[in-house]
Structures are given as structure tokens and as C-alpha cells.
């Protein structure tokens, strides 16, 4: 809302200090978006053109002698309409016009020019007179040497307020005046409209067939002369951000700004009857609105009709068929209140948001409908030579009973924590001009129609903001509660800390992705969730997996020459009726390397697997298994990918991207993993921390090298060994894998076995016995051959 300071001053005995207003509004009412001069030019002056003769060396220029009060200036002017005896706006040298255009003394075709005679466009206020032909010519009464902005009522400042949805009252100058009065503790005074009426009967009758119009007044007005509005009215419209058009339109806009009540003027001679019928639109009904567009209507829209055809889309825009034009003589002026929700929906659907529709949407003081209409009538008499034909026709369904809200001092103190005195509260209600009665220490407040309120909480807000939020003391809640993270939240932090400790960067990527990305890395190819109203195709679906987003992060960084990318993210993934929190991570490049020492190996599958095993150890999860995927994900390398299982339950997958996928993105050796966090949390929570005393006795190590067929897995060999000796075998490590060229289809595996007892020192003999048994079993079960 843009508020003209000159206009606001009109309601008060003394002039307001705009800077103080800014401060007060910010702290007690609404945020101020700005305070600016309406025309930000210093030093303009009224000049009297004494003579204007053709420039000897230029056909289109005139040499003017201009009296500016204290001196006479020679100014060269190129405007076609400049002439002797005009009163004009002069910018002397030294004045800066908008666009940082500085006026300087200059010679134009050999003749000196000491300033400029200005057009409105050059002053940045062309809206003030859209018919301007060149320079702007002031009235006869303008005095040379005086301030032209003052003469045109443009010496104004504009206070712009950012309004919240609950302050529709501030969409009117009167509402702003009420709030200003309350904040500054001063008294506003308001003009009471005075309408001179013809005693003739008003022939118009008004009917309604809808619940969506609470009140409707129609005033017939004759003898209209369409012309320009006076300067003061135009300047106030411009200050309010509305372009002046002609006196009738300007007056309806002016009254809307003063009262917050939108008005609409019909050309009465274009209405086919004396009957106005307000009703809901019918499906498939049409109207051509003032902007010339044909609008298809729906049942939820409200229309004004002449009994047959729609003549306006209520509250949103008038109909072209009853438009006011230069020849209009009789006008029917409408002042009404329509259902705010219906207006909002219609305006939204037809993309027809306007000053008037937004006021209907936010709510109007339905008790000022008639007063606003009367004020418009008064102004039309004064500025459009109008004759007011009798009293307005109307219907009115507003309940005359005003709402009250009670608030006790106890409640006020209990909610705010501030020990208010009754006297403070009384004074604040008086400042707000709220009527109230008292019953003991309880206030019964009559809610003014201009400030709709629901409950005592609204009253508390009014009291506190006028009293000042700075008066509220500081304390913290007294009720004791136990704070803390739950197990899941602790585990999540542990996981994040683990990855940070292992050199990974945490990423945050968007949940909304393309359809293709959303479907990837989901083995079950479950249905994806689509947004009904997406912004772009890039952000249309909720993802099933974080991995495609991590791959994008990798591509982004690779393009910027960042070669080693170790990233992780925890985020939700989305399925019908289910959100799964997942942990995904990606490895690419080198880790822990030293180029000049020749340590520069790219990471591989076993690095990835090592990270997973370490994570599980960190989470104290031991009862897991890893197996080659039974049906690998299509975007993973089928021979270099695996699944993590807790019991029979698959927790997630990991492996290298499919070479085709890598090729598609121009990547190499990309390793990824994605796990379901819920399963990690649950499994981790089940693990108890236990203690076993470490053995006092020394372990015995034995190395063993065998040949087995290539397809036998390390896992199978270790299982056979572990099965053979459960008691003394402490650990099995593979320390060499070797493919011997002389042994076709066979590989050599070297193992280090460690034996340990918790109750005695082991003897070499018993360890050797165990080794022999192990060799026998390996031979029997895996056809292994001892390497000599």
C-alpha cells in the first residue's frame, strides 16, 4: 500500500513527521518498504514565457525569454507547443532530472541556453497528463519563481507499507489514519460526505439471486461531463500508484483509496433496463470485459446483469457493453460487497488481479459501503458537474449487531508475562478507538467493523503492539523437561561423523528430479510420485534414489577439474504411501595418495567395500552378509556389484556403475552405495555393547597357500576354514591372490591363520593338527591343492 503523506496529513491537526512514521509503523504496525519523494527533483521553478521567437539557425527551436521571479533566463526550447505568455516548469542549470540528467548552460546553434523548459515525461511523471503534446503548461494562476511541484500538489512523499494478510484495513487511507492516530496517540478527524440530491425518484431497482453479495448500493447520476481531474486528485492517485484517466474513473479510484471500498461506474444509457440483478454466473455464460477479452464464466463467479445479460464480472472487472466513454452522460455508480473467496477464485482463474479485486479478497468494511458511495457522489457533483438522482437503490443483508470480545486482565497477564495495569489497557483501547465496557477486571470490547477480529488473542496483539514489544520482559519457560536426541537421531549423527572422518563431503541435493532420474536405482521399479503443478520438467518427480543426484554432483565437479570426489548424503526417497530415509555415497578418483612417492592408485571395489564394513563396525552391526546381487540393478556393473543383507533382508546395494552408464556421462570407475537408513538404525539399536577380557596368552600364526578353481570365492574358502575349527581359530586373513599362468583356470590364494586360546599357551603341535584338518577339508570340499 502506497500512502501519500499529504493525504494522510489531511486527517490531522498537525503535520506528521514522515521519518517518525516509518519508525512507528515498523515497530507497531506493518513493515515499511520505503519512504520516497513523489518527484525526486530539487530546484524546479515556475517560469513565465515572456517571448518565444524562432531560432535564427534552426527551424524547430525557439529562443524564449523566461521570467523565473528573480531573473529572466534565455532558454532554447524545442517543444512544438511552447509559446509566449505560458506558465511553464523550468529546470535551471544545476538541476538534475531523472536518469541523472544534469542541466548545464550550453550554446545551441550559437545561442546561449540557460536551462530547460520541462515536459512531464522529463520529470518522470508522464502519467500526470497522458495527453501532453510537449512541455507542460501550467494554469494562469501559477506564480513565476514559485515551486511548480507545490503548485501541482506533487510536493509529496510516499510511504510504502508491506501489508500482512490480516490488515486489510490498511488498504484505505482512513484505515492508515486510524492506525497512525493510535500509534502517535493523536486524534484523527474525518470528512462527512455531503450530497446534494435532486428530489426526483430514482428509477433503478436492485435485486439479488445470490448469497455471495451481502450489500449492494446503486446510485443513478446524470449530467456527467467527462474531463480531466484537478491536479490535487491526480497527484494523490499517482502517489498511490494509480494512473489518472478521467474525472469519473479517477473519483471512483480516489474513493476506493480513501475507504477501501471499490466502486464501479456503468454507462446507464447502455444498460437495457432499470433493473439490476446480481446473481451467480451460469456455466458457459460469457462476458467481454473492459479489456476487450471474452471471458468464459463458471458457476462460482458472480455477475451483475441488467436482468438478462451480464454487464460486469462482480468485483473483478466491468463489462465492455456498459463502459464509460467520453460521451457518457448518465452513470450508475455501484458500491457493493461480494464474497471474498469467490472474488479471489475468479480473479485467480482469469488472471485478473486488480486494486479492486484484491480489496474484495482481503475483506471490506461493509458498513461503509453507502458512505463511500455518497462521497463519490459529492465529488462527482463538484468535479463532473453531476446531478444526483434521488437516493441510491440497494439491498443490504448485513447484521446490524456488532461483535464483542471479552478479555480479562488475568488472561492478558498470563499470556504476555507482563503485569499490565487496567489503566494502560483502557488508554490503549481509547487510542485504537475501540469501544469497551468493563465488568470487574474484564473488558468487553466492541469490535469495529473496520477491524475484524476473532478472539481475545487478537485484542492482546493490539494491546501489545501499541504498548510496545520492547516493554515485554525476558524470561524462559519454567516447566522442566528432559531434552535430548533419541537413538535414531544419535545414530544419524554417528553416521555423518563417520563419513566426515573418512574424508567424505556431505552434499544436499534436490528431492525433485526428472522422470528419468526419479526411476533409477530402484530394483522393484515402483511407481514414482509426480507433482501436479511442477515448475519445470527438471523438478517434476520425487526421487527413488539419491544416487542420480550424486552422479550429477560428480559431473559438475569433474567439469571444474575436481578429480577426487568422495561424497555422501542422507535424505528421504519417496514411494506411494511411504518415505524411506536413505544413505547414499559415491567414490571416484584417488584417496590418501602421494604422487611423488608413486602412491596414486585409483580407488576400487574393495575400497568401497571397506568403507561399508567400517561403517557397520562403527555401528556395532556384526550379523550382516554381503553377496553378489541375484538380479543386479541395470545401471550397475553386473560383475562388480553386491548387496548388503541383515539376515534375509536386503539393506542396500553397492558397486561400480555399469560401463555403459559411465560412458554416457564420460566418467570412469565410479563406485556407489545406497542403504536404507531405517534398517541401519534398527539393527544398530539392537546391538548391545559387551566386554570380553582379552587373552593373556600369545597367538600362533600359520600361513597357508592353496590352488583353487577360479570360480571359487574367497568367502567359500574362509567358510570351510572357519567350519573346521571353531574354537581356536581367531582370525583368517587373505594376504595374496595370484593367477598362475601355468595353472589353467586356477588361482593361488595365500591365507594367514591366527590361533588363540583364552585359557592356555597353545602348543605348535596342536596348531599343526588343526592346519592338517583344514587342508583335508579344503581338498575335500573345494578340491583345493596345497601350494608347496
Amino acid at each position: 500500500m502506497k500512502v501519500s503523506i499529504n493525504w494522510l496529513n489531511q486527517y490531522f491537526a498537525e503535520k506528521l513527521d514522515p521519518k517518525d512514521l516509518v519508525k512507528k509503523f515498523n515497530l507497531m504496525s506493518q513493515e515499511v518498504a520505503g519512504l520516497e519523494k513523489l518527484v525526486d527533483i530539487d530546484g524546479l521553478i515556475i517560469g513565465h514565457v515572456k517571448s518565444a521567437v524562432k531560432h535564427p539557425d534552426a527551424d524547430k527551436l525557439k529562443v524564449c525569454m523566461v521570467d523565473v521571479g528573480d531573473e529572466e533566463l534565455q532558454i532554447i526550447c524545442g517543444a512544438p507547443n511552447v509559446d509566449a505568455n505560458q506558465k511553464v516548469i523550468v529546470a535551471r542549470s544545476g538541476v538534475t532530472l531523472p536518469g541523472d540528467f544534469k542541466i548545464k548552460k550550453a550554446k545551441i546553434r550559437g545561442i546561449e541556453s540557460n536551462g530547460m523548459i520541462c515536459s512531464l515525461a522529463e520529470l518522470g511523471i508522464q502519467a500526470f497528463d497522458s495527453n501532453e503534446l510537449g512541455i507542460f503548461v501550467l494554469g494562469e494562476d501559477a506564480l513565476p519563481g514559485e515551486d511548480p511541484l507545490k503548485y501541482l500538489n506533487l510536493d509529496d512523499q510516499v510511504l510504502e507499507l508491506d501489508l500482512t494478510a490480516n490488515r486489510a484495513d490498511l488498504l484505505s487511507l482512513r484505515g492508515v489514519a486510524y492506525d497512525t492516530a493510535a500509534m502517535l496517540n493523536i486524534i484523527p478527524s474525518f470528512h462527512e460526505p455531503q450530497v446534494i440530491r435532486e428530489t426526483t425518484e430514482n428509477p433503478v431497482s436492485i435485486f439479488t439471486q445470490t448469497k455471495n453479495c451481502q450489500v449492494y448500493y446503486g446510485q443513478l447520476i446524470e449530467n456527467i461531463t467527462i474531463k480531466q481531474s484537478p491536479y490535487w486528485l491526480k497527484s494523490r492517485l499517482i502517489a498511490s500508484g494509480i494512473r489518472p484517466i478521467n474525472n469519473v474513473v479517477d473519483i471512483t479510484n480516489y474513493v476506493m483509496l480513501e475507504y477501501g471500498q471499490p466502486l464501479h461506474a456503468f454507462d446507464y444509457d447502455k444498460i437495457n433496463s432499470d433493473r439490476i440483478l446480481v446473481r451467480d454466473a451460469m456455466d458457459q455464460e460469457e462476458i467481454i470485459t473492459l479489456d476487450g477479452e471474452k471471458r468464459g464464466l463458471l458457476k462460482g463467479d458472480i455477475v451483475i446483469t441488467d436482468g438478462e445479460r451480464p454487464i460486469a464480472l462482480a468485483g473483478v472487472m466491468g463489462g465492455l457493453n456498459t463502459e464509460i466513454d467520453a460521451s457518457s452522460r448518465r452513470v450508475l455508480l455501484e458500491s457493493a460487497v461480494f464474497n471474498s473467496i469467490k472474488i479471489r477464485k475468479t480473479a485467480l482463474r482469469l488472471n485478473l488481479k486488480s486494486e479492486s479485486s484484491s480489496r474484495f479478497e482481503k475483506g471490506i468494511d461493509a458498513r461503509k459501503t453507502l458512505e463511500a458511495l455518497n462521497y463519490a457522489s459529492e465529488l462527482l457533483v463538484r468535479y463532473a458537474d453531476a446531478i444526483i438522482v434521488g437516493k441510491p437503490s440497494f439491498f443490504n443483508t448485513i447484521n446490524p449487531k456488532k461483535k464483542t470480545i471479552t478479555l480479562s486482565m488475568d488472561k492478558l497477564i498470563k499470556v504476555t508475562g507482563l503485569k499490565f495495569e487496567e489503566d494502560d489497557v483502557e488508554k490503549i483501547f481509547n487510542r485504537l478507538r475501540f469501544d469497551f465496557k468493563k465488568k470487574g477486571d474484564t473488558f468487553i470490547v466492541t469490535i469495529p467493523s473496520r477491524r475484524p477480529m476473532e478472539s481475545y488473542q487478537d485484542l492482546i496483539e493490539e494491546i501489545v503492539r501499541i504498548h510496545g514489544y520492547n516493554m515485554i520482559p525476558l524470561s524462559i519457560p519454567v516447566t522442566p523437561t528432559q531434552g535430548g536426541l533419541n537413538k535414531k537421531q544419535k545414530t544419524k549423527r554417528l553416521i555423518r561423523n563417520f563419513f566426515v572422518g573418512k574424508g567424505f563431503y556431505e552434499t544436499k541435493t534436490y528431492s525433485l528430479v526428472t522422470e528419468e532420474m526419479a526411476r533409477k536405482y530402484d530394483k522393484e521399479t515402483l511407481p514414482t510420485i509426480k507433482i501436479l503443478n511442477p515448475l519445470t520438467k527438471e523438478r517434476e518427480y520425487l526421487r527413488h534414489s539419491i544416487i542420480p543426484s550424486l552422479i550429477n554432483v560428480l559431473i559438475y565437479n569433474k567439469a571444474r577439474k575436481i578429480e577426487d570426489v568422495f561424497i555422501f548424503e542422507t535424505a528421504n526417497t519417496y514411494f506411494k504411501n511411504d518415505e524411506q530415509e536413505k544413505l547414499a555415497f559415491l567414490l571416484n578418483g584417488k584417496s590418501d595418495y602421494s604422487l611423488w612417492q608413486g602412491l596414486d592408485k585409483e580407488i576400487d571395489f574393495y575400497h568401497l567395500k571397506g568403507v561399508i564394513e567400517a561403517l557397520l563396525e562403527q555401528l556395532k552391526i556384526t550379523n550382516y552378509s554381503i553377496r553378489a546381487s541375484l538380479s543386479p540393478l541395470p545401471n550397475l556393473h553386473p560383475g562388480i556389484s553386491a548387496e548388503l543383507l541383515f539376515g534375509e533382508e536386503v539393506v542396500g546395494f553397492f558397486g561400480r556403475l555399469h560401463p555403459e552408464e559411465e560412458h554416457r556421462f564420460g566418467l570412469k570407475d565410479v563406485y556407489v552405495c545406497e542403504l536404507e537408513l531405517k534398517k541401519l538404525y534398527e539393527s544398530s539399536e539392537k546391538q548391545e555393547m559387551t566386554y570380553v577380557e582379552v587373552s593373556k596368552y600369545p597367538p600362533i600364526e600359520r600361513d597357508l597357500a592353496i590352488y583353487v578353481a577360479n570360480e571359487i570365492s574367497a568367502h567359500e574358502i574362509i567358510e570351510v576354514i572357519k567350519k573346521t575349527n571353531k574354537k581356536l581359530l581367531n582370525s583368517v586373513e587373505i594376504f595374496d591372490v595370484y593367477y598362475d599362468q601355468n595353472k589353467e583356470n586356477k588361482k593361488s590364494i595365500a591365507l594367514r591363520l591366527e590361533f588363540l586360546s583364552y585359557d592356555r599357551t597353545l602348543e605348535a603341535r596342536e596348531v599343526d593338527e588343526q592346519i592338517s584338518k583344514i587342508i583335508v577339508n579344503l581338498k575335500k570340499e573345494l578340491n583345493a591343492e596345497l601350494r608347496s
Binding site: A165, K362, G483, N486, N533, W596
Partner: protein
């Protein structure tokens, strides 16, 4: 004999000085102090001396031997030290060559700020609650005093999935869920961090996905003063001990009264600078007393219970704290950006 002793001492001293290895030194030691050494010979000769001379010369011999022993010991230390010095010199490396690249990980700045805020509130007795991101219209709007057709819904343009489900536009539905789950209506002190979505085109200051933290206190006596005290504490913890706050009236459907909270500018200390647009204050969050309609919807008796809520955007806090100029940096994951936090 005395002269001979002195002469021998000089000779021994010279010989020791000339030794450069332990072996040489051992040879010298054998020569002067061994069984066949000249000192031993002199000791044999003592037998021929008078009883007065015997102890005097014997003492002289012992002193000479001790002196030589000490010289040998000293020379030995010297040789050892030189040997170690040589070894150290030989082993000396160029310590300016680069170290092995041990990767250092980084949490995302948004995670860091969330954890920081969580820790502050946990210290004040709050627990952390989470909820789904795909939310019902009922929990996201209706139960928060935002019935269908409420104009304030336009403040939060939403991504819809069906007419009744959407991506949550704030973490407030977690408050609703927590109020409903608290069937005994015990005092509730919770914070709700999480991802939220608004239908905004991504630009320097807008992101269609962002993170919020909200706090909610509902009991029989939580006051506006308690809210103000809590806000000041948070502002000080996040932006420094010297910070002040001010509250300005605002509007949110789920709180009444509602306030915007400004913190005194931490760049200029409230004097006025480009960061605070010359006002000395920076808006950091919104808050208010819980609207009775919200409590009633969750089955609370508003004659008995009251409370406050506050909510802040994590991106905004991060951008303010570190002077990050574009919100999109937070989701770009340029590792040169992420590595700074």
C-alpha cells in the same frame, strides 16, 4: 719414576686425542691400562720403594690411570656423538615435500547449523521431532488455522501431488502431529528441523527446496515473555553474545500475536551498514503465541493451555552468518564451496 709417570700421561693423552674409532681407542686403552701396560710395570716396581714412598707413588699411579680413563671415556663419547651426527645427516630429508593426501571430510553447512541449533535447544530441555515431507493438506494447512480458501495460503504456494496431499511448505505439520500424539497433554517442548518446499522459481534468494527449524512450547504457562527470552538466547548463541533483538508485529495464521524477530546487525553492531540496509537490524525469524484455533484443532483446552512457536529458515541463517550471496550455492555442491565449512 715421577717423571716417567708424567711423560706417560702426556703420551697417553696424545694417543687418545688421535683416536678416530672405538677400535683405535680400545687399543690405546689396552696399551696404557691393560695388564701388560706400562702402568702395571710401574706398579710392579713399587715393591722396591721405601714404605714412605710406596703410598705416595701408588697414589700418583692411580690418579694417572683415572685421568687417562676419564680421557678415554670422554673420547668415546665424542666418537659416538660424531657417528650419530653423521647418521642423522645422512637420514635428513626434504621436509618441504608435500605430505600424503589424507582426505578430510566436511559436513554440509546446513547440517552444521541445524546441529548447532538442535544442541542449543536440547540444552534447554527440548526434544527433536521429525515428520514426513509428503504431507496431507489437513496437517500442512487446515489444522494450522489455514482452512481451504484462506488467502494466506497464497503466501506459501505449494507443490501438490493430489488435491489432498502436497510437499509440506513448512515443518509446522510436525507440530500438529506432535500435539496430537501427546495424548496426555504433558508439557511439550520440541523442535522440528526438516526439508520443506515452496513453488518458487530458483534465484539468488529463492529456492524451491529449503530447510526450516521450528520450535514449539505448549504447557499451562508459557508466555510471550518466555518466547522473547528464548529468542534472545538463540540470537546470542547463533550470532554472538553482544546481540540484541527486537520484535515487530507480523502475521502468521498459526500464531496470534505474531512477530518478526530482528537481531542487531552483527557486522556493524547496529550502527547501520550495507548488510542491514542501514537499519542496524537484520530479520532472522518469525514467531508468536500459538493461535487458539491450532490448539483447539489438536484437542487442547485453550482456557488451560497456551504456548509459543518460532520458525527460521536455515539457508537464511547460513547466508547471513557467512555472507553467502546466492542460495543456490547451498545446493550446487561445488566441493570448493562445501570444503569451506
Amino acid at each position: 719414576m715421577e717423571n716417567k709417570l708424567k711423560q706417560m700421561a702426556v703420551l697417553a693423552s696424545d694417543a687418545i686425542e688421535k683416536c678416530n674409532t672405538i677400535n683405535e681407542l680400545m687399543d690405546v686403552k689396552a696399551l696404557y691400562l691393560g695388564k701388560k701396560s706400562e702402568f702395571n710395570a710401574i706398579m710392579q716396581d713399587l715393591k722396591g720403594l721405601s714404605d714412605e714412598e710406596k703410598p705416595r707413588i701408588g697414589k700418583m699411579v692411580n690418579e694417572a690411570k683415572q685421568a687417562i680413563s676419564a680421557l678415554i671415556e670422554e673420547r668415546k663419547n665424542h666418537i659416538d656423538r660424531e657417528k650419530i651426527d653423521a647418521l642423522l645427516k645422512e637420514q635428513t630429508i626434504d621436509i618441504t615435500l608435500p605430505g600424503k593426501k589424507i582426505a578430510v571430510g566436511h559436513k554440509h553447512i546446513l547440517t552444521k547449523i541445524i546441529e548447532e541449533i538442535e544442541d542449543i535447544f536440547v540444552g534447554l530441555g527440548y526434544t527433536i521431532k521429525e515428520g514426513p515431507e509428503v504431507e496431507s493438506d489437513k496437517y500442512n494447512f487446515e489444522m494450522l488455522n489455514l482452512p481451504k480458501d484462506h488467502p494466506a495460503r497464497e503466501m506459501q504456494d505449494s507443490f501438490y501431488i493430489t488435491e489432498e496431499t502436497l510437499l509440506r511448505t513448512h515443518t509446522s505439520p510436525v507440530q500438529v502431529r506432535s500435539l496430537l500424539a501427546n495424548t496426555n497433554q504433558e508439557p511439550l517442548k520440541i523442535i522440528c528441523p526438516g526439508v520443506v518446499y515452496r513453488k518458487d522459481d530458483d534465484d539468488q534468494t529463492h529456492s524451491h527446496q529449503f530447510m526450516q527449524i521450528e520450535a514449539l512450547v505448549v504447557d499451562e504457562k508459557a508466555t510471550l515473555a518466555d518466547l522473547k527470552g528464548t529468542l534472545l538466547l538463540i540470537a546470542k548463541k547463533l550470532f554472538g553474545e553482544n546481540r540484541e533483538i527486537r520484535l515487530r508485529p507480523s502475521y502468521f495464521p498459526f500464531t496470534e500475536p505474531s512477530v518478526e524477530v530482528d537481531v542487531s546487525c552483527f557486522k556493524c553492531n547496529g550502527v547501520g551498514c550495507s548488510m542491514c540496509k542501514q537499519t542496524g537490524w537484520i530479520e532472522i525469524l518469525g514467531a508468536g503465541m500459538v493461535n487458539n484455533n491450532v490448539l483447539k484443532a489438536a484437542g487442547y483446552d485453550t482456557d488451560k493451555y497456551q504456548g509459543f512457536a518460532l520458525g527460521m529458515g536455515i539457508e537464511r541463517i547460513a547466508m547471513l552468518k557467512y555472507g553467502i550471496e546466492d542460495i543456490r550455492h547451498l545446493y550446487m555442491n561445488d566441493l570448493r564451496f562445501n570444503s569451506q565449512f
